[in-house]
């Protein structure tokens, strides 16, 4: 026998940003707990609105299966004494099982003899007995940042709980959650609903609440809102910009969505549109409309939680709210432009970047010098890079960034342009925070790339310098993301930047004796995991990292890693890798040093053939370095060309010859061969 189960908690308004996570976690928890108690079901569907969390378990079994619990007692031999009387051991076991006689026990044959066991037949518990614990445990295990209490209760939850429904089919299962006895009554929409509503059975839940102006299904509400937004856009002959996070948040703020559009004074369009959008989105949860060319229109869309009897009143009210918000933005924009960006540098002195690393003014100066150093190496205009570095943090003290922190960099670039700074400088100020998230967009301009790297390396060397590298759980300065940002910019910009030298320059600028080894290793570790994320195994990168050519130019490193990755797919790679492992082992054991090879000491033909092949390969490998992956693929091919000679050599030559001179000569040749390979990568590190 099975039936559908409905559980609903009716609450005060739940936090919108975590609502969908809350319900999916609750569903997962209930699934887990039901599995633990072996109650069968087909599926669990979760429902969430601002005022309720609910779920329906479909085809849920009425009982657990019956169980047999087996308890092993004493061995038969130890149970009865010579007279056939029960021993103390047997008596104790019977008592612990609540039994009186040996006849109530079974005998179990094992290789070690016969044992007494008690087979306890336990009838499966019914849903009514189990469900309260299942749900209580599921609720207790919800990930809630901050729980609260209310009134004079001692229970805790995200927000106050008003009632709980627990129906199995059409029958109420008695239980208690958060001081509420379960029943079948809930509330509909706060204003449009009739008040208390009875749910006849689990199957009626969705439609009963729809009649009370509540769409309980999160996804259904979301798609309703999406359709309404699109309909308004069509009606206004415009496009609607739907930020998915905003859509989720808005979905969590309404039970009965009604999208309404309003407008604002077009005069505000003289303010940068990003600021207007921020004001509408972050403060008001409005969606914005753009024209065919993607330009912001003086319109907005709000999603109300009511079919108002006077929608115009709601629209007018919203228009009245957005106007002062935008006028504040306009006020800041005007006032910020009254003094040039450069004049803000003085005020940066009062903002501490990090207590031991000085103020933002000092940081700006370091970024400027470091950006200049990078520009010099990469052929970018040095004075532009220095200028952009100096000004890149100057917008932190503007009114606009104070009000809308997410506009940092962007406002600086507007103000720089207004001040008549070079366009490259303005662009770099805007771009230097990029990438702002893992996999995010990178700066596109050369000056922007230089300043972005300078800012990040300054932070990295500084925090490592004062002994605050990121730990597993703590990375308050987002060093992980910044290191990865530098890596991606270096590789994708196509620069030949000496990372080691740049790190040294960055470190010496700090007020302290900061090393660079730890940061450098940290960055290479990040590089390794970046490759792994792209499906390039760790050993391909390790082979390059441990070659004779230190990784200083990340783009060159990238060519090598990808060439190795391509090379190892080839059939002949395996035996070359094996040969490298063998050579590495021999050399490790003999602790060998570089030495000249004397062809006069060759005995076997294979020795001479390998020697000749190595010589030829060496010449080929000295080909003019060209800056691409194909170059290294070509080099790998040259090495691969040695395969036949190498195989023949190991088949026919005994390296550890008795004669010390011959042995030394052979080791010297292997050493040369190993060096040849190590010039590209340590092939011995590649795994099968």
């Amino acid at each position: 026998m099975s039936n559908n189960l409905l559980f609903e908690l009716q609450t005060e308004e739940l936090p919108p940003k975590s609502l969908s996570q809350l319900i999916s976690q609750l569903v997962a928890n209930v699934r887990l707990e039901l599995n633990k108690v072996q109650i069968d079901f087909t599926d669990i569907r979760g429902f969430a609105t601002p005022r309720r969390l609910a779920l329906i378990v479909t085809d849920m079994a009425a009982r657990q299966p019956d169980q047999v619990l087996e308890r092993r007692g004493p061995a038969l031999q130890a149970a009865l004494d010579q007279d056939g009387e029960p021993t103390k051991a047997l008596g104790g076991f019977l008592r612990s099982c609540g039994l009186t006689d040996i006849s109530q026990l079974q005998q179990q044959e094992t290789p070690k003899g016969t044992w007494l066991v008690y087979e306890q037949h336990k009838a499966g518990a019914g849903v009514g007995e189990l469900i309260e614990a299942v749900i209580s445990q599921s609720l207790a295990n919800l990930p809630i940042d901050r729980k609260m209490r209310w009134g004079a209760t001692r229970t805790e939850f995200v927000r106050p709980v008003h009632s709980a429904i627990l129906l199995y089919g059409d029958e109420v299962l008695p239980a208690r959650f958060f001081d509420c006895d379960t029943g079948r009554v809930t509330l509909g929409h706060r204003f449009m609903g009739q008040g208390e509503t009875c749910i006849a059975s689990a199957n009626d839940y969705i439609e009963a609440l729809r009649a009370e102006y509540v769409i309980v299904d999160f996804e259904e509400r979301k798609s309703t809102i999406r359709q309404q937004l699109q309909a308004i856009a069509t009606q206004e002959n415009a496009s609607i910009v739907i930020d998915e996070n905003l859509l989720d948040e808005v979905t969590a703020l309404v039970e009965w969505p009604v999208a309404l559009s309003g407008g604002f004074d077009p005069a505000f369009l003289s303010v940068p549109e990003e600021a207007l959008i921020s004001a509408m989105k972050s403060h008001q949860r409005y969606f914005h409309l753009v024209d065919k060319a993607g330009k912001l229109l003086p319109r907005f869309v709000t999603v109300a939680n009511i079919r108002s009897t006077q929608p115009d009143t709601v629209i007018k009210g919203n228009e009245r709210v957005i106007s002062p918000r935008l006028s504040d933005a306009a006020f800041f924009f005007r006032r910020d432009q009254e003094s040039p960006l450069q004049s803000n540098l003085v005020r940066l002195e009062s903002i501490v970047f990090q207590a031991k690393l000085g103020t933002y003014r000092q940081k700006a100066q370091r970024i400027s010098a470091l950006a200049g150093f990078i520009a010099e190496q990469t052929g970018i205009d040095v004075s532009m890079a220095q200028r952009a570095g100096l000004l890149c943090k100057a917008d932190l003290v503007t009114g606009m960034v104070g009000e809308f922190p997410e506009l940092q960099g962007l406002m600086g670039s507007y103000y720089a342009r207004h001040d008549g700074e070079a366009l490259e400088v303005a662009e770099a100020i805007k771009e230097h925070y990029l990438p702002t998230f893992s996999g995010g967009e990178l700066p596109q301009s050369g000056v922007g790339q230089a300043v972005a790297i300078a800012d990040k390396l300054d932070t990295l060397t500084g925090l490592f310098g004062i002994g605050q590298p990121p730990t597993g759980s703590k990375d308050p300065f987002a060093l992980r993301r910044q290191a990865l940002g530098v890596i991606r910019i270096c590789i994708e910009s196509g620069w030949q930047l000496d990372v080691k030298a740049t790190l040294s320059f960055a470190a010496t600028q700090h007020n302290g004796d900061f090393g660079t080894e730890a940061v450098y290793d940290y960055m290479l570790d990040r590089l390794g995991s970046w490759y792994q994320d792209q499906g390039i195994p760790a050993d391909s990168f390790a082979a390059v990292r441990n070659s004779n050519i230190p990784v200083v130019d990340l783009r060159d490193c990238d060519f090598r890693v990808r060439a190795i990755q391509a090379f190892r797919q080839q059939p002949l790679a395996a035996s070359l890798v094996a040969a490298n492992k063998r050579v590495a082992n021999i050399l490790k054991k003999t602790n060998s040093q570089p030495a000249a090879v004397d062809p006069g000491l060759f005995i076997e033909a294979a020795e001479r053939q390998l020697h000749d092949a190595l010589g030829k390969a060496k010449i080929l490998l000295q080909a003019k370095h060209s800056d691409n992956q194909a170059f290294y693929e070509q080099q790998c091919l040259v090495l691969a060309g040695l395969q036949a000679e190498v195989d023949r050599y190991f088949d026919g030559v005994m390296v550890m010859a008795d004669d010390p001179a011959i042995r030394a000569n052979r080791i010297a040749m292997l050493y040369q061969m190993r060096e040849l390979f190590l010039g590209i990568a340590d092939f011995s590190l590649l795994q099968d």
Binding site: R320, S323, D328, S350
Partner: protein
């Protein structure tokens, strides 16, 4: 038949009367205050008067901050003028002033129907929730200077924040039990709505016959002068000294077991800090240190106030709540 007509006539009459009352009730700024006072007095609140010192929010009033501590019951409502020096705009922003009014309600323990009580107060002001889009939008409250935090919402009406709604969880570093429900109306913003105007200055404060007094008549000059004082004329070195003085005074008074007197100096210290902040006289790192200093004082006061009420055996507490408090809340500390 006659009876029926009479009944209908009566119903219509009372509808007209109640409508009239509703529209009348919010016609002026002072009517708004009077209506809220009547409403909350009817709900059993003690009507208090504003505290006569500079505070940044109605929460600072001892009727909220101190009464939220310990197991005693308390229901109060009052108007509180608030000063936020940083928000001054020389009277030029339509709805941002450095001096404005809050209407504060604190209900302890928070009743189960607290949201309904609040919504009914809006109905009394003539706000029809079937017309307006009224929502409770998550907004958690944390006052680092008071060592206090709570969870709750800002209440939106057609997108405008008109009320802050908070369940206190901790005050002065002490766990709140029972929990206080705090409702804070932004009176000017609510009045903008009720009067259908765009700018604080246009609000009608009072009306008598043909004579009308506006918010601008009452406050505009003050707003301009105080903005100038806050941003341009306040004496920074003197304010730093004042802060130090308030700090030592609080400590001295706490040592003398005078928490209520000590608390007044915490409020003064907090205001001195806000004035210094408006002058951007406090750098980011120092800022943190100043907040910590005020918090230490607020915690000291909270603890001392708690002790003083305990010494009186919490006269306003329910016996059952008091017992739970002593057994479960204090035993965990």
């Amino acid at each position: 038949m006659g009876m029926a007509i009479q009944a209908v006539a009566f119903a219509i009459l009372s509808a007209i009367l109640s409508l009239g009352q509703i529209f009348m009730s919010a016609a002026t700024f002072q009517d708004l205050i009077l209506t809220l006072q009547h409403y909350w007095a009817d709900q059993g609140c003690v009507l208090m008067q504003p505290y006569d010192m500079e505070v940044g929010a109605g929460t600072f009033h001892p009727a909220t901050f101190l009464r939220a501590i310990g197991p005693e019951n308390w229901q109060a409502a009052y108007v509180q003028p608030c000063r936020r020096p940083n928000d001054g705009r020389y009277g030029e922003n339509p709805n941002r002033y450095q001096y404005y009014y809050q209407f504060q309600v604190m209900l302890k323990p928070s009743p189960d129907n607290i949201q309904e009580l609040y919504l009914n107060s809006l109905r009394h002001l003539g706000i029809d929730p079937l017309v307006h889009d009224i929502r409770f939008v998550e907004d958690n409250w944390e006052s680092p200077t008071l060592g206090a935090w709570g969870l709750g919402w800002e209440v939106w009406m057609d997108g405008m924040e008109i009320t802050q709604f908070t369940y206190f969880q901790q005050v002065g570093g002490l766990e709140c039990y029972p929990v206080t429900g705090e409702i804070t109306y932004g009176l000017e913003r609510l009045a903008l709505y009720l009067q259908g105007v765009e700018d604080f200055q246009q609000l009608i404060w009072s009306k008598s016959g043909t004579s009308v007094v506006t918010y601008a008549d009452v406050f505009h000059q003050y707003e301009v002068e105080m903005s100038a004082y806050n941003f341009d004329y306040s004496d920074v070195p003197a304010l730093f000294k004042q802060f130090d003085f308030c700090e030592t005074e609080t400590t001295r008074l706490l040592a003398a077991s005078l928490p209520l007197a000590a608390y007044e100096f915490v409020m003064k210290a907090s205001h001195a800090f806000n004035l210094l902040d408006a002058r951007q006289a406090i750098s980011v790192t120092e800022r943190q240190r100043f907040i910590l200093r005020v918090r230490t004082l607020a915690r000291g006061v909270a603890q001392a106030y708690y002790e003083s009420r305990k010494a009186l055996d919490f006269p306003l507490a329910d016996a059952e709540i008091k017992q739970t408090f002593l057994q479960e809340v204090m035993s965990g500390e």
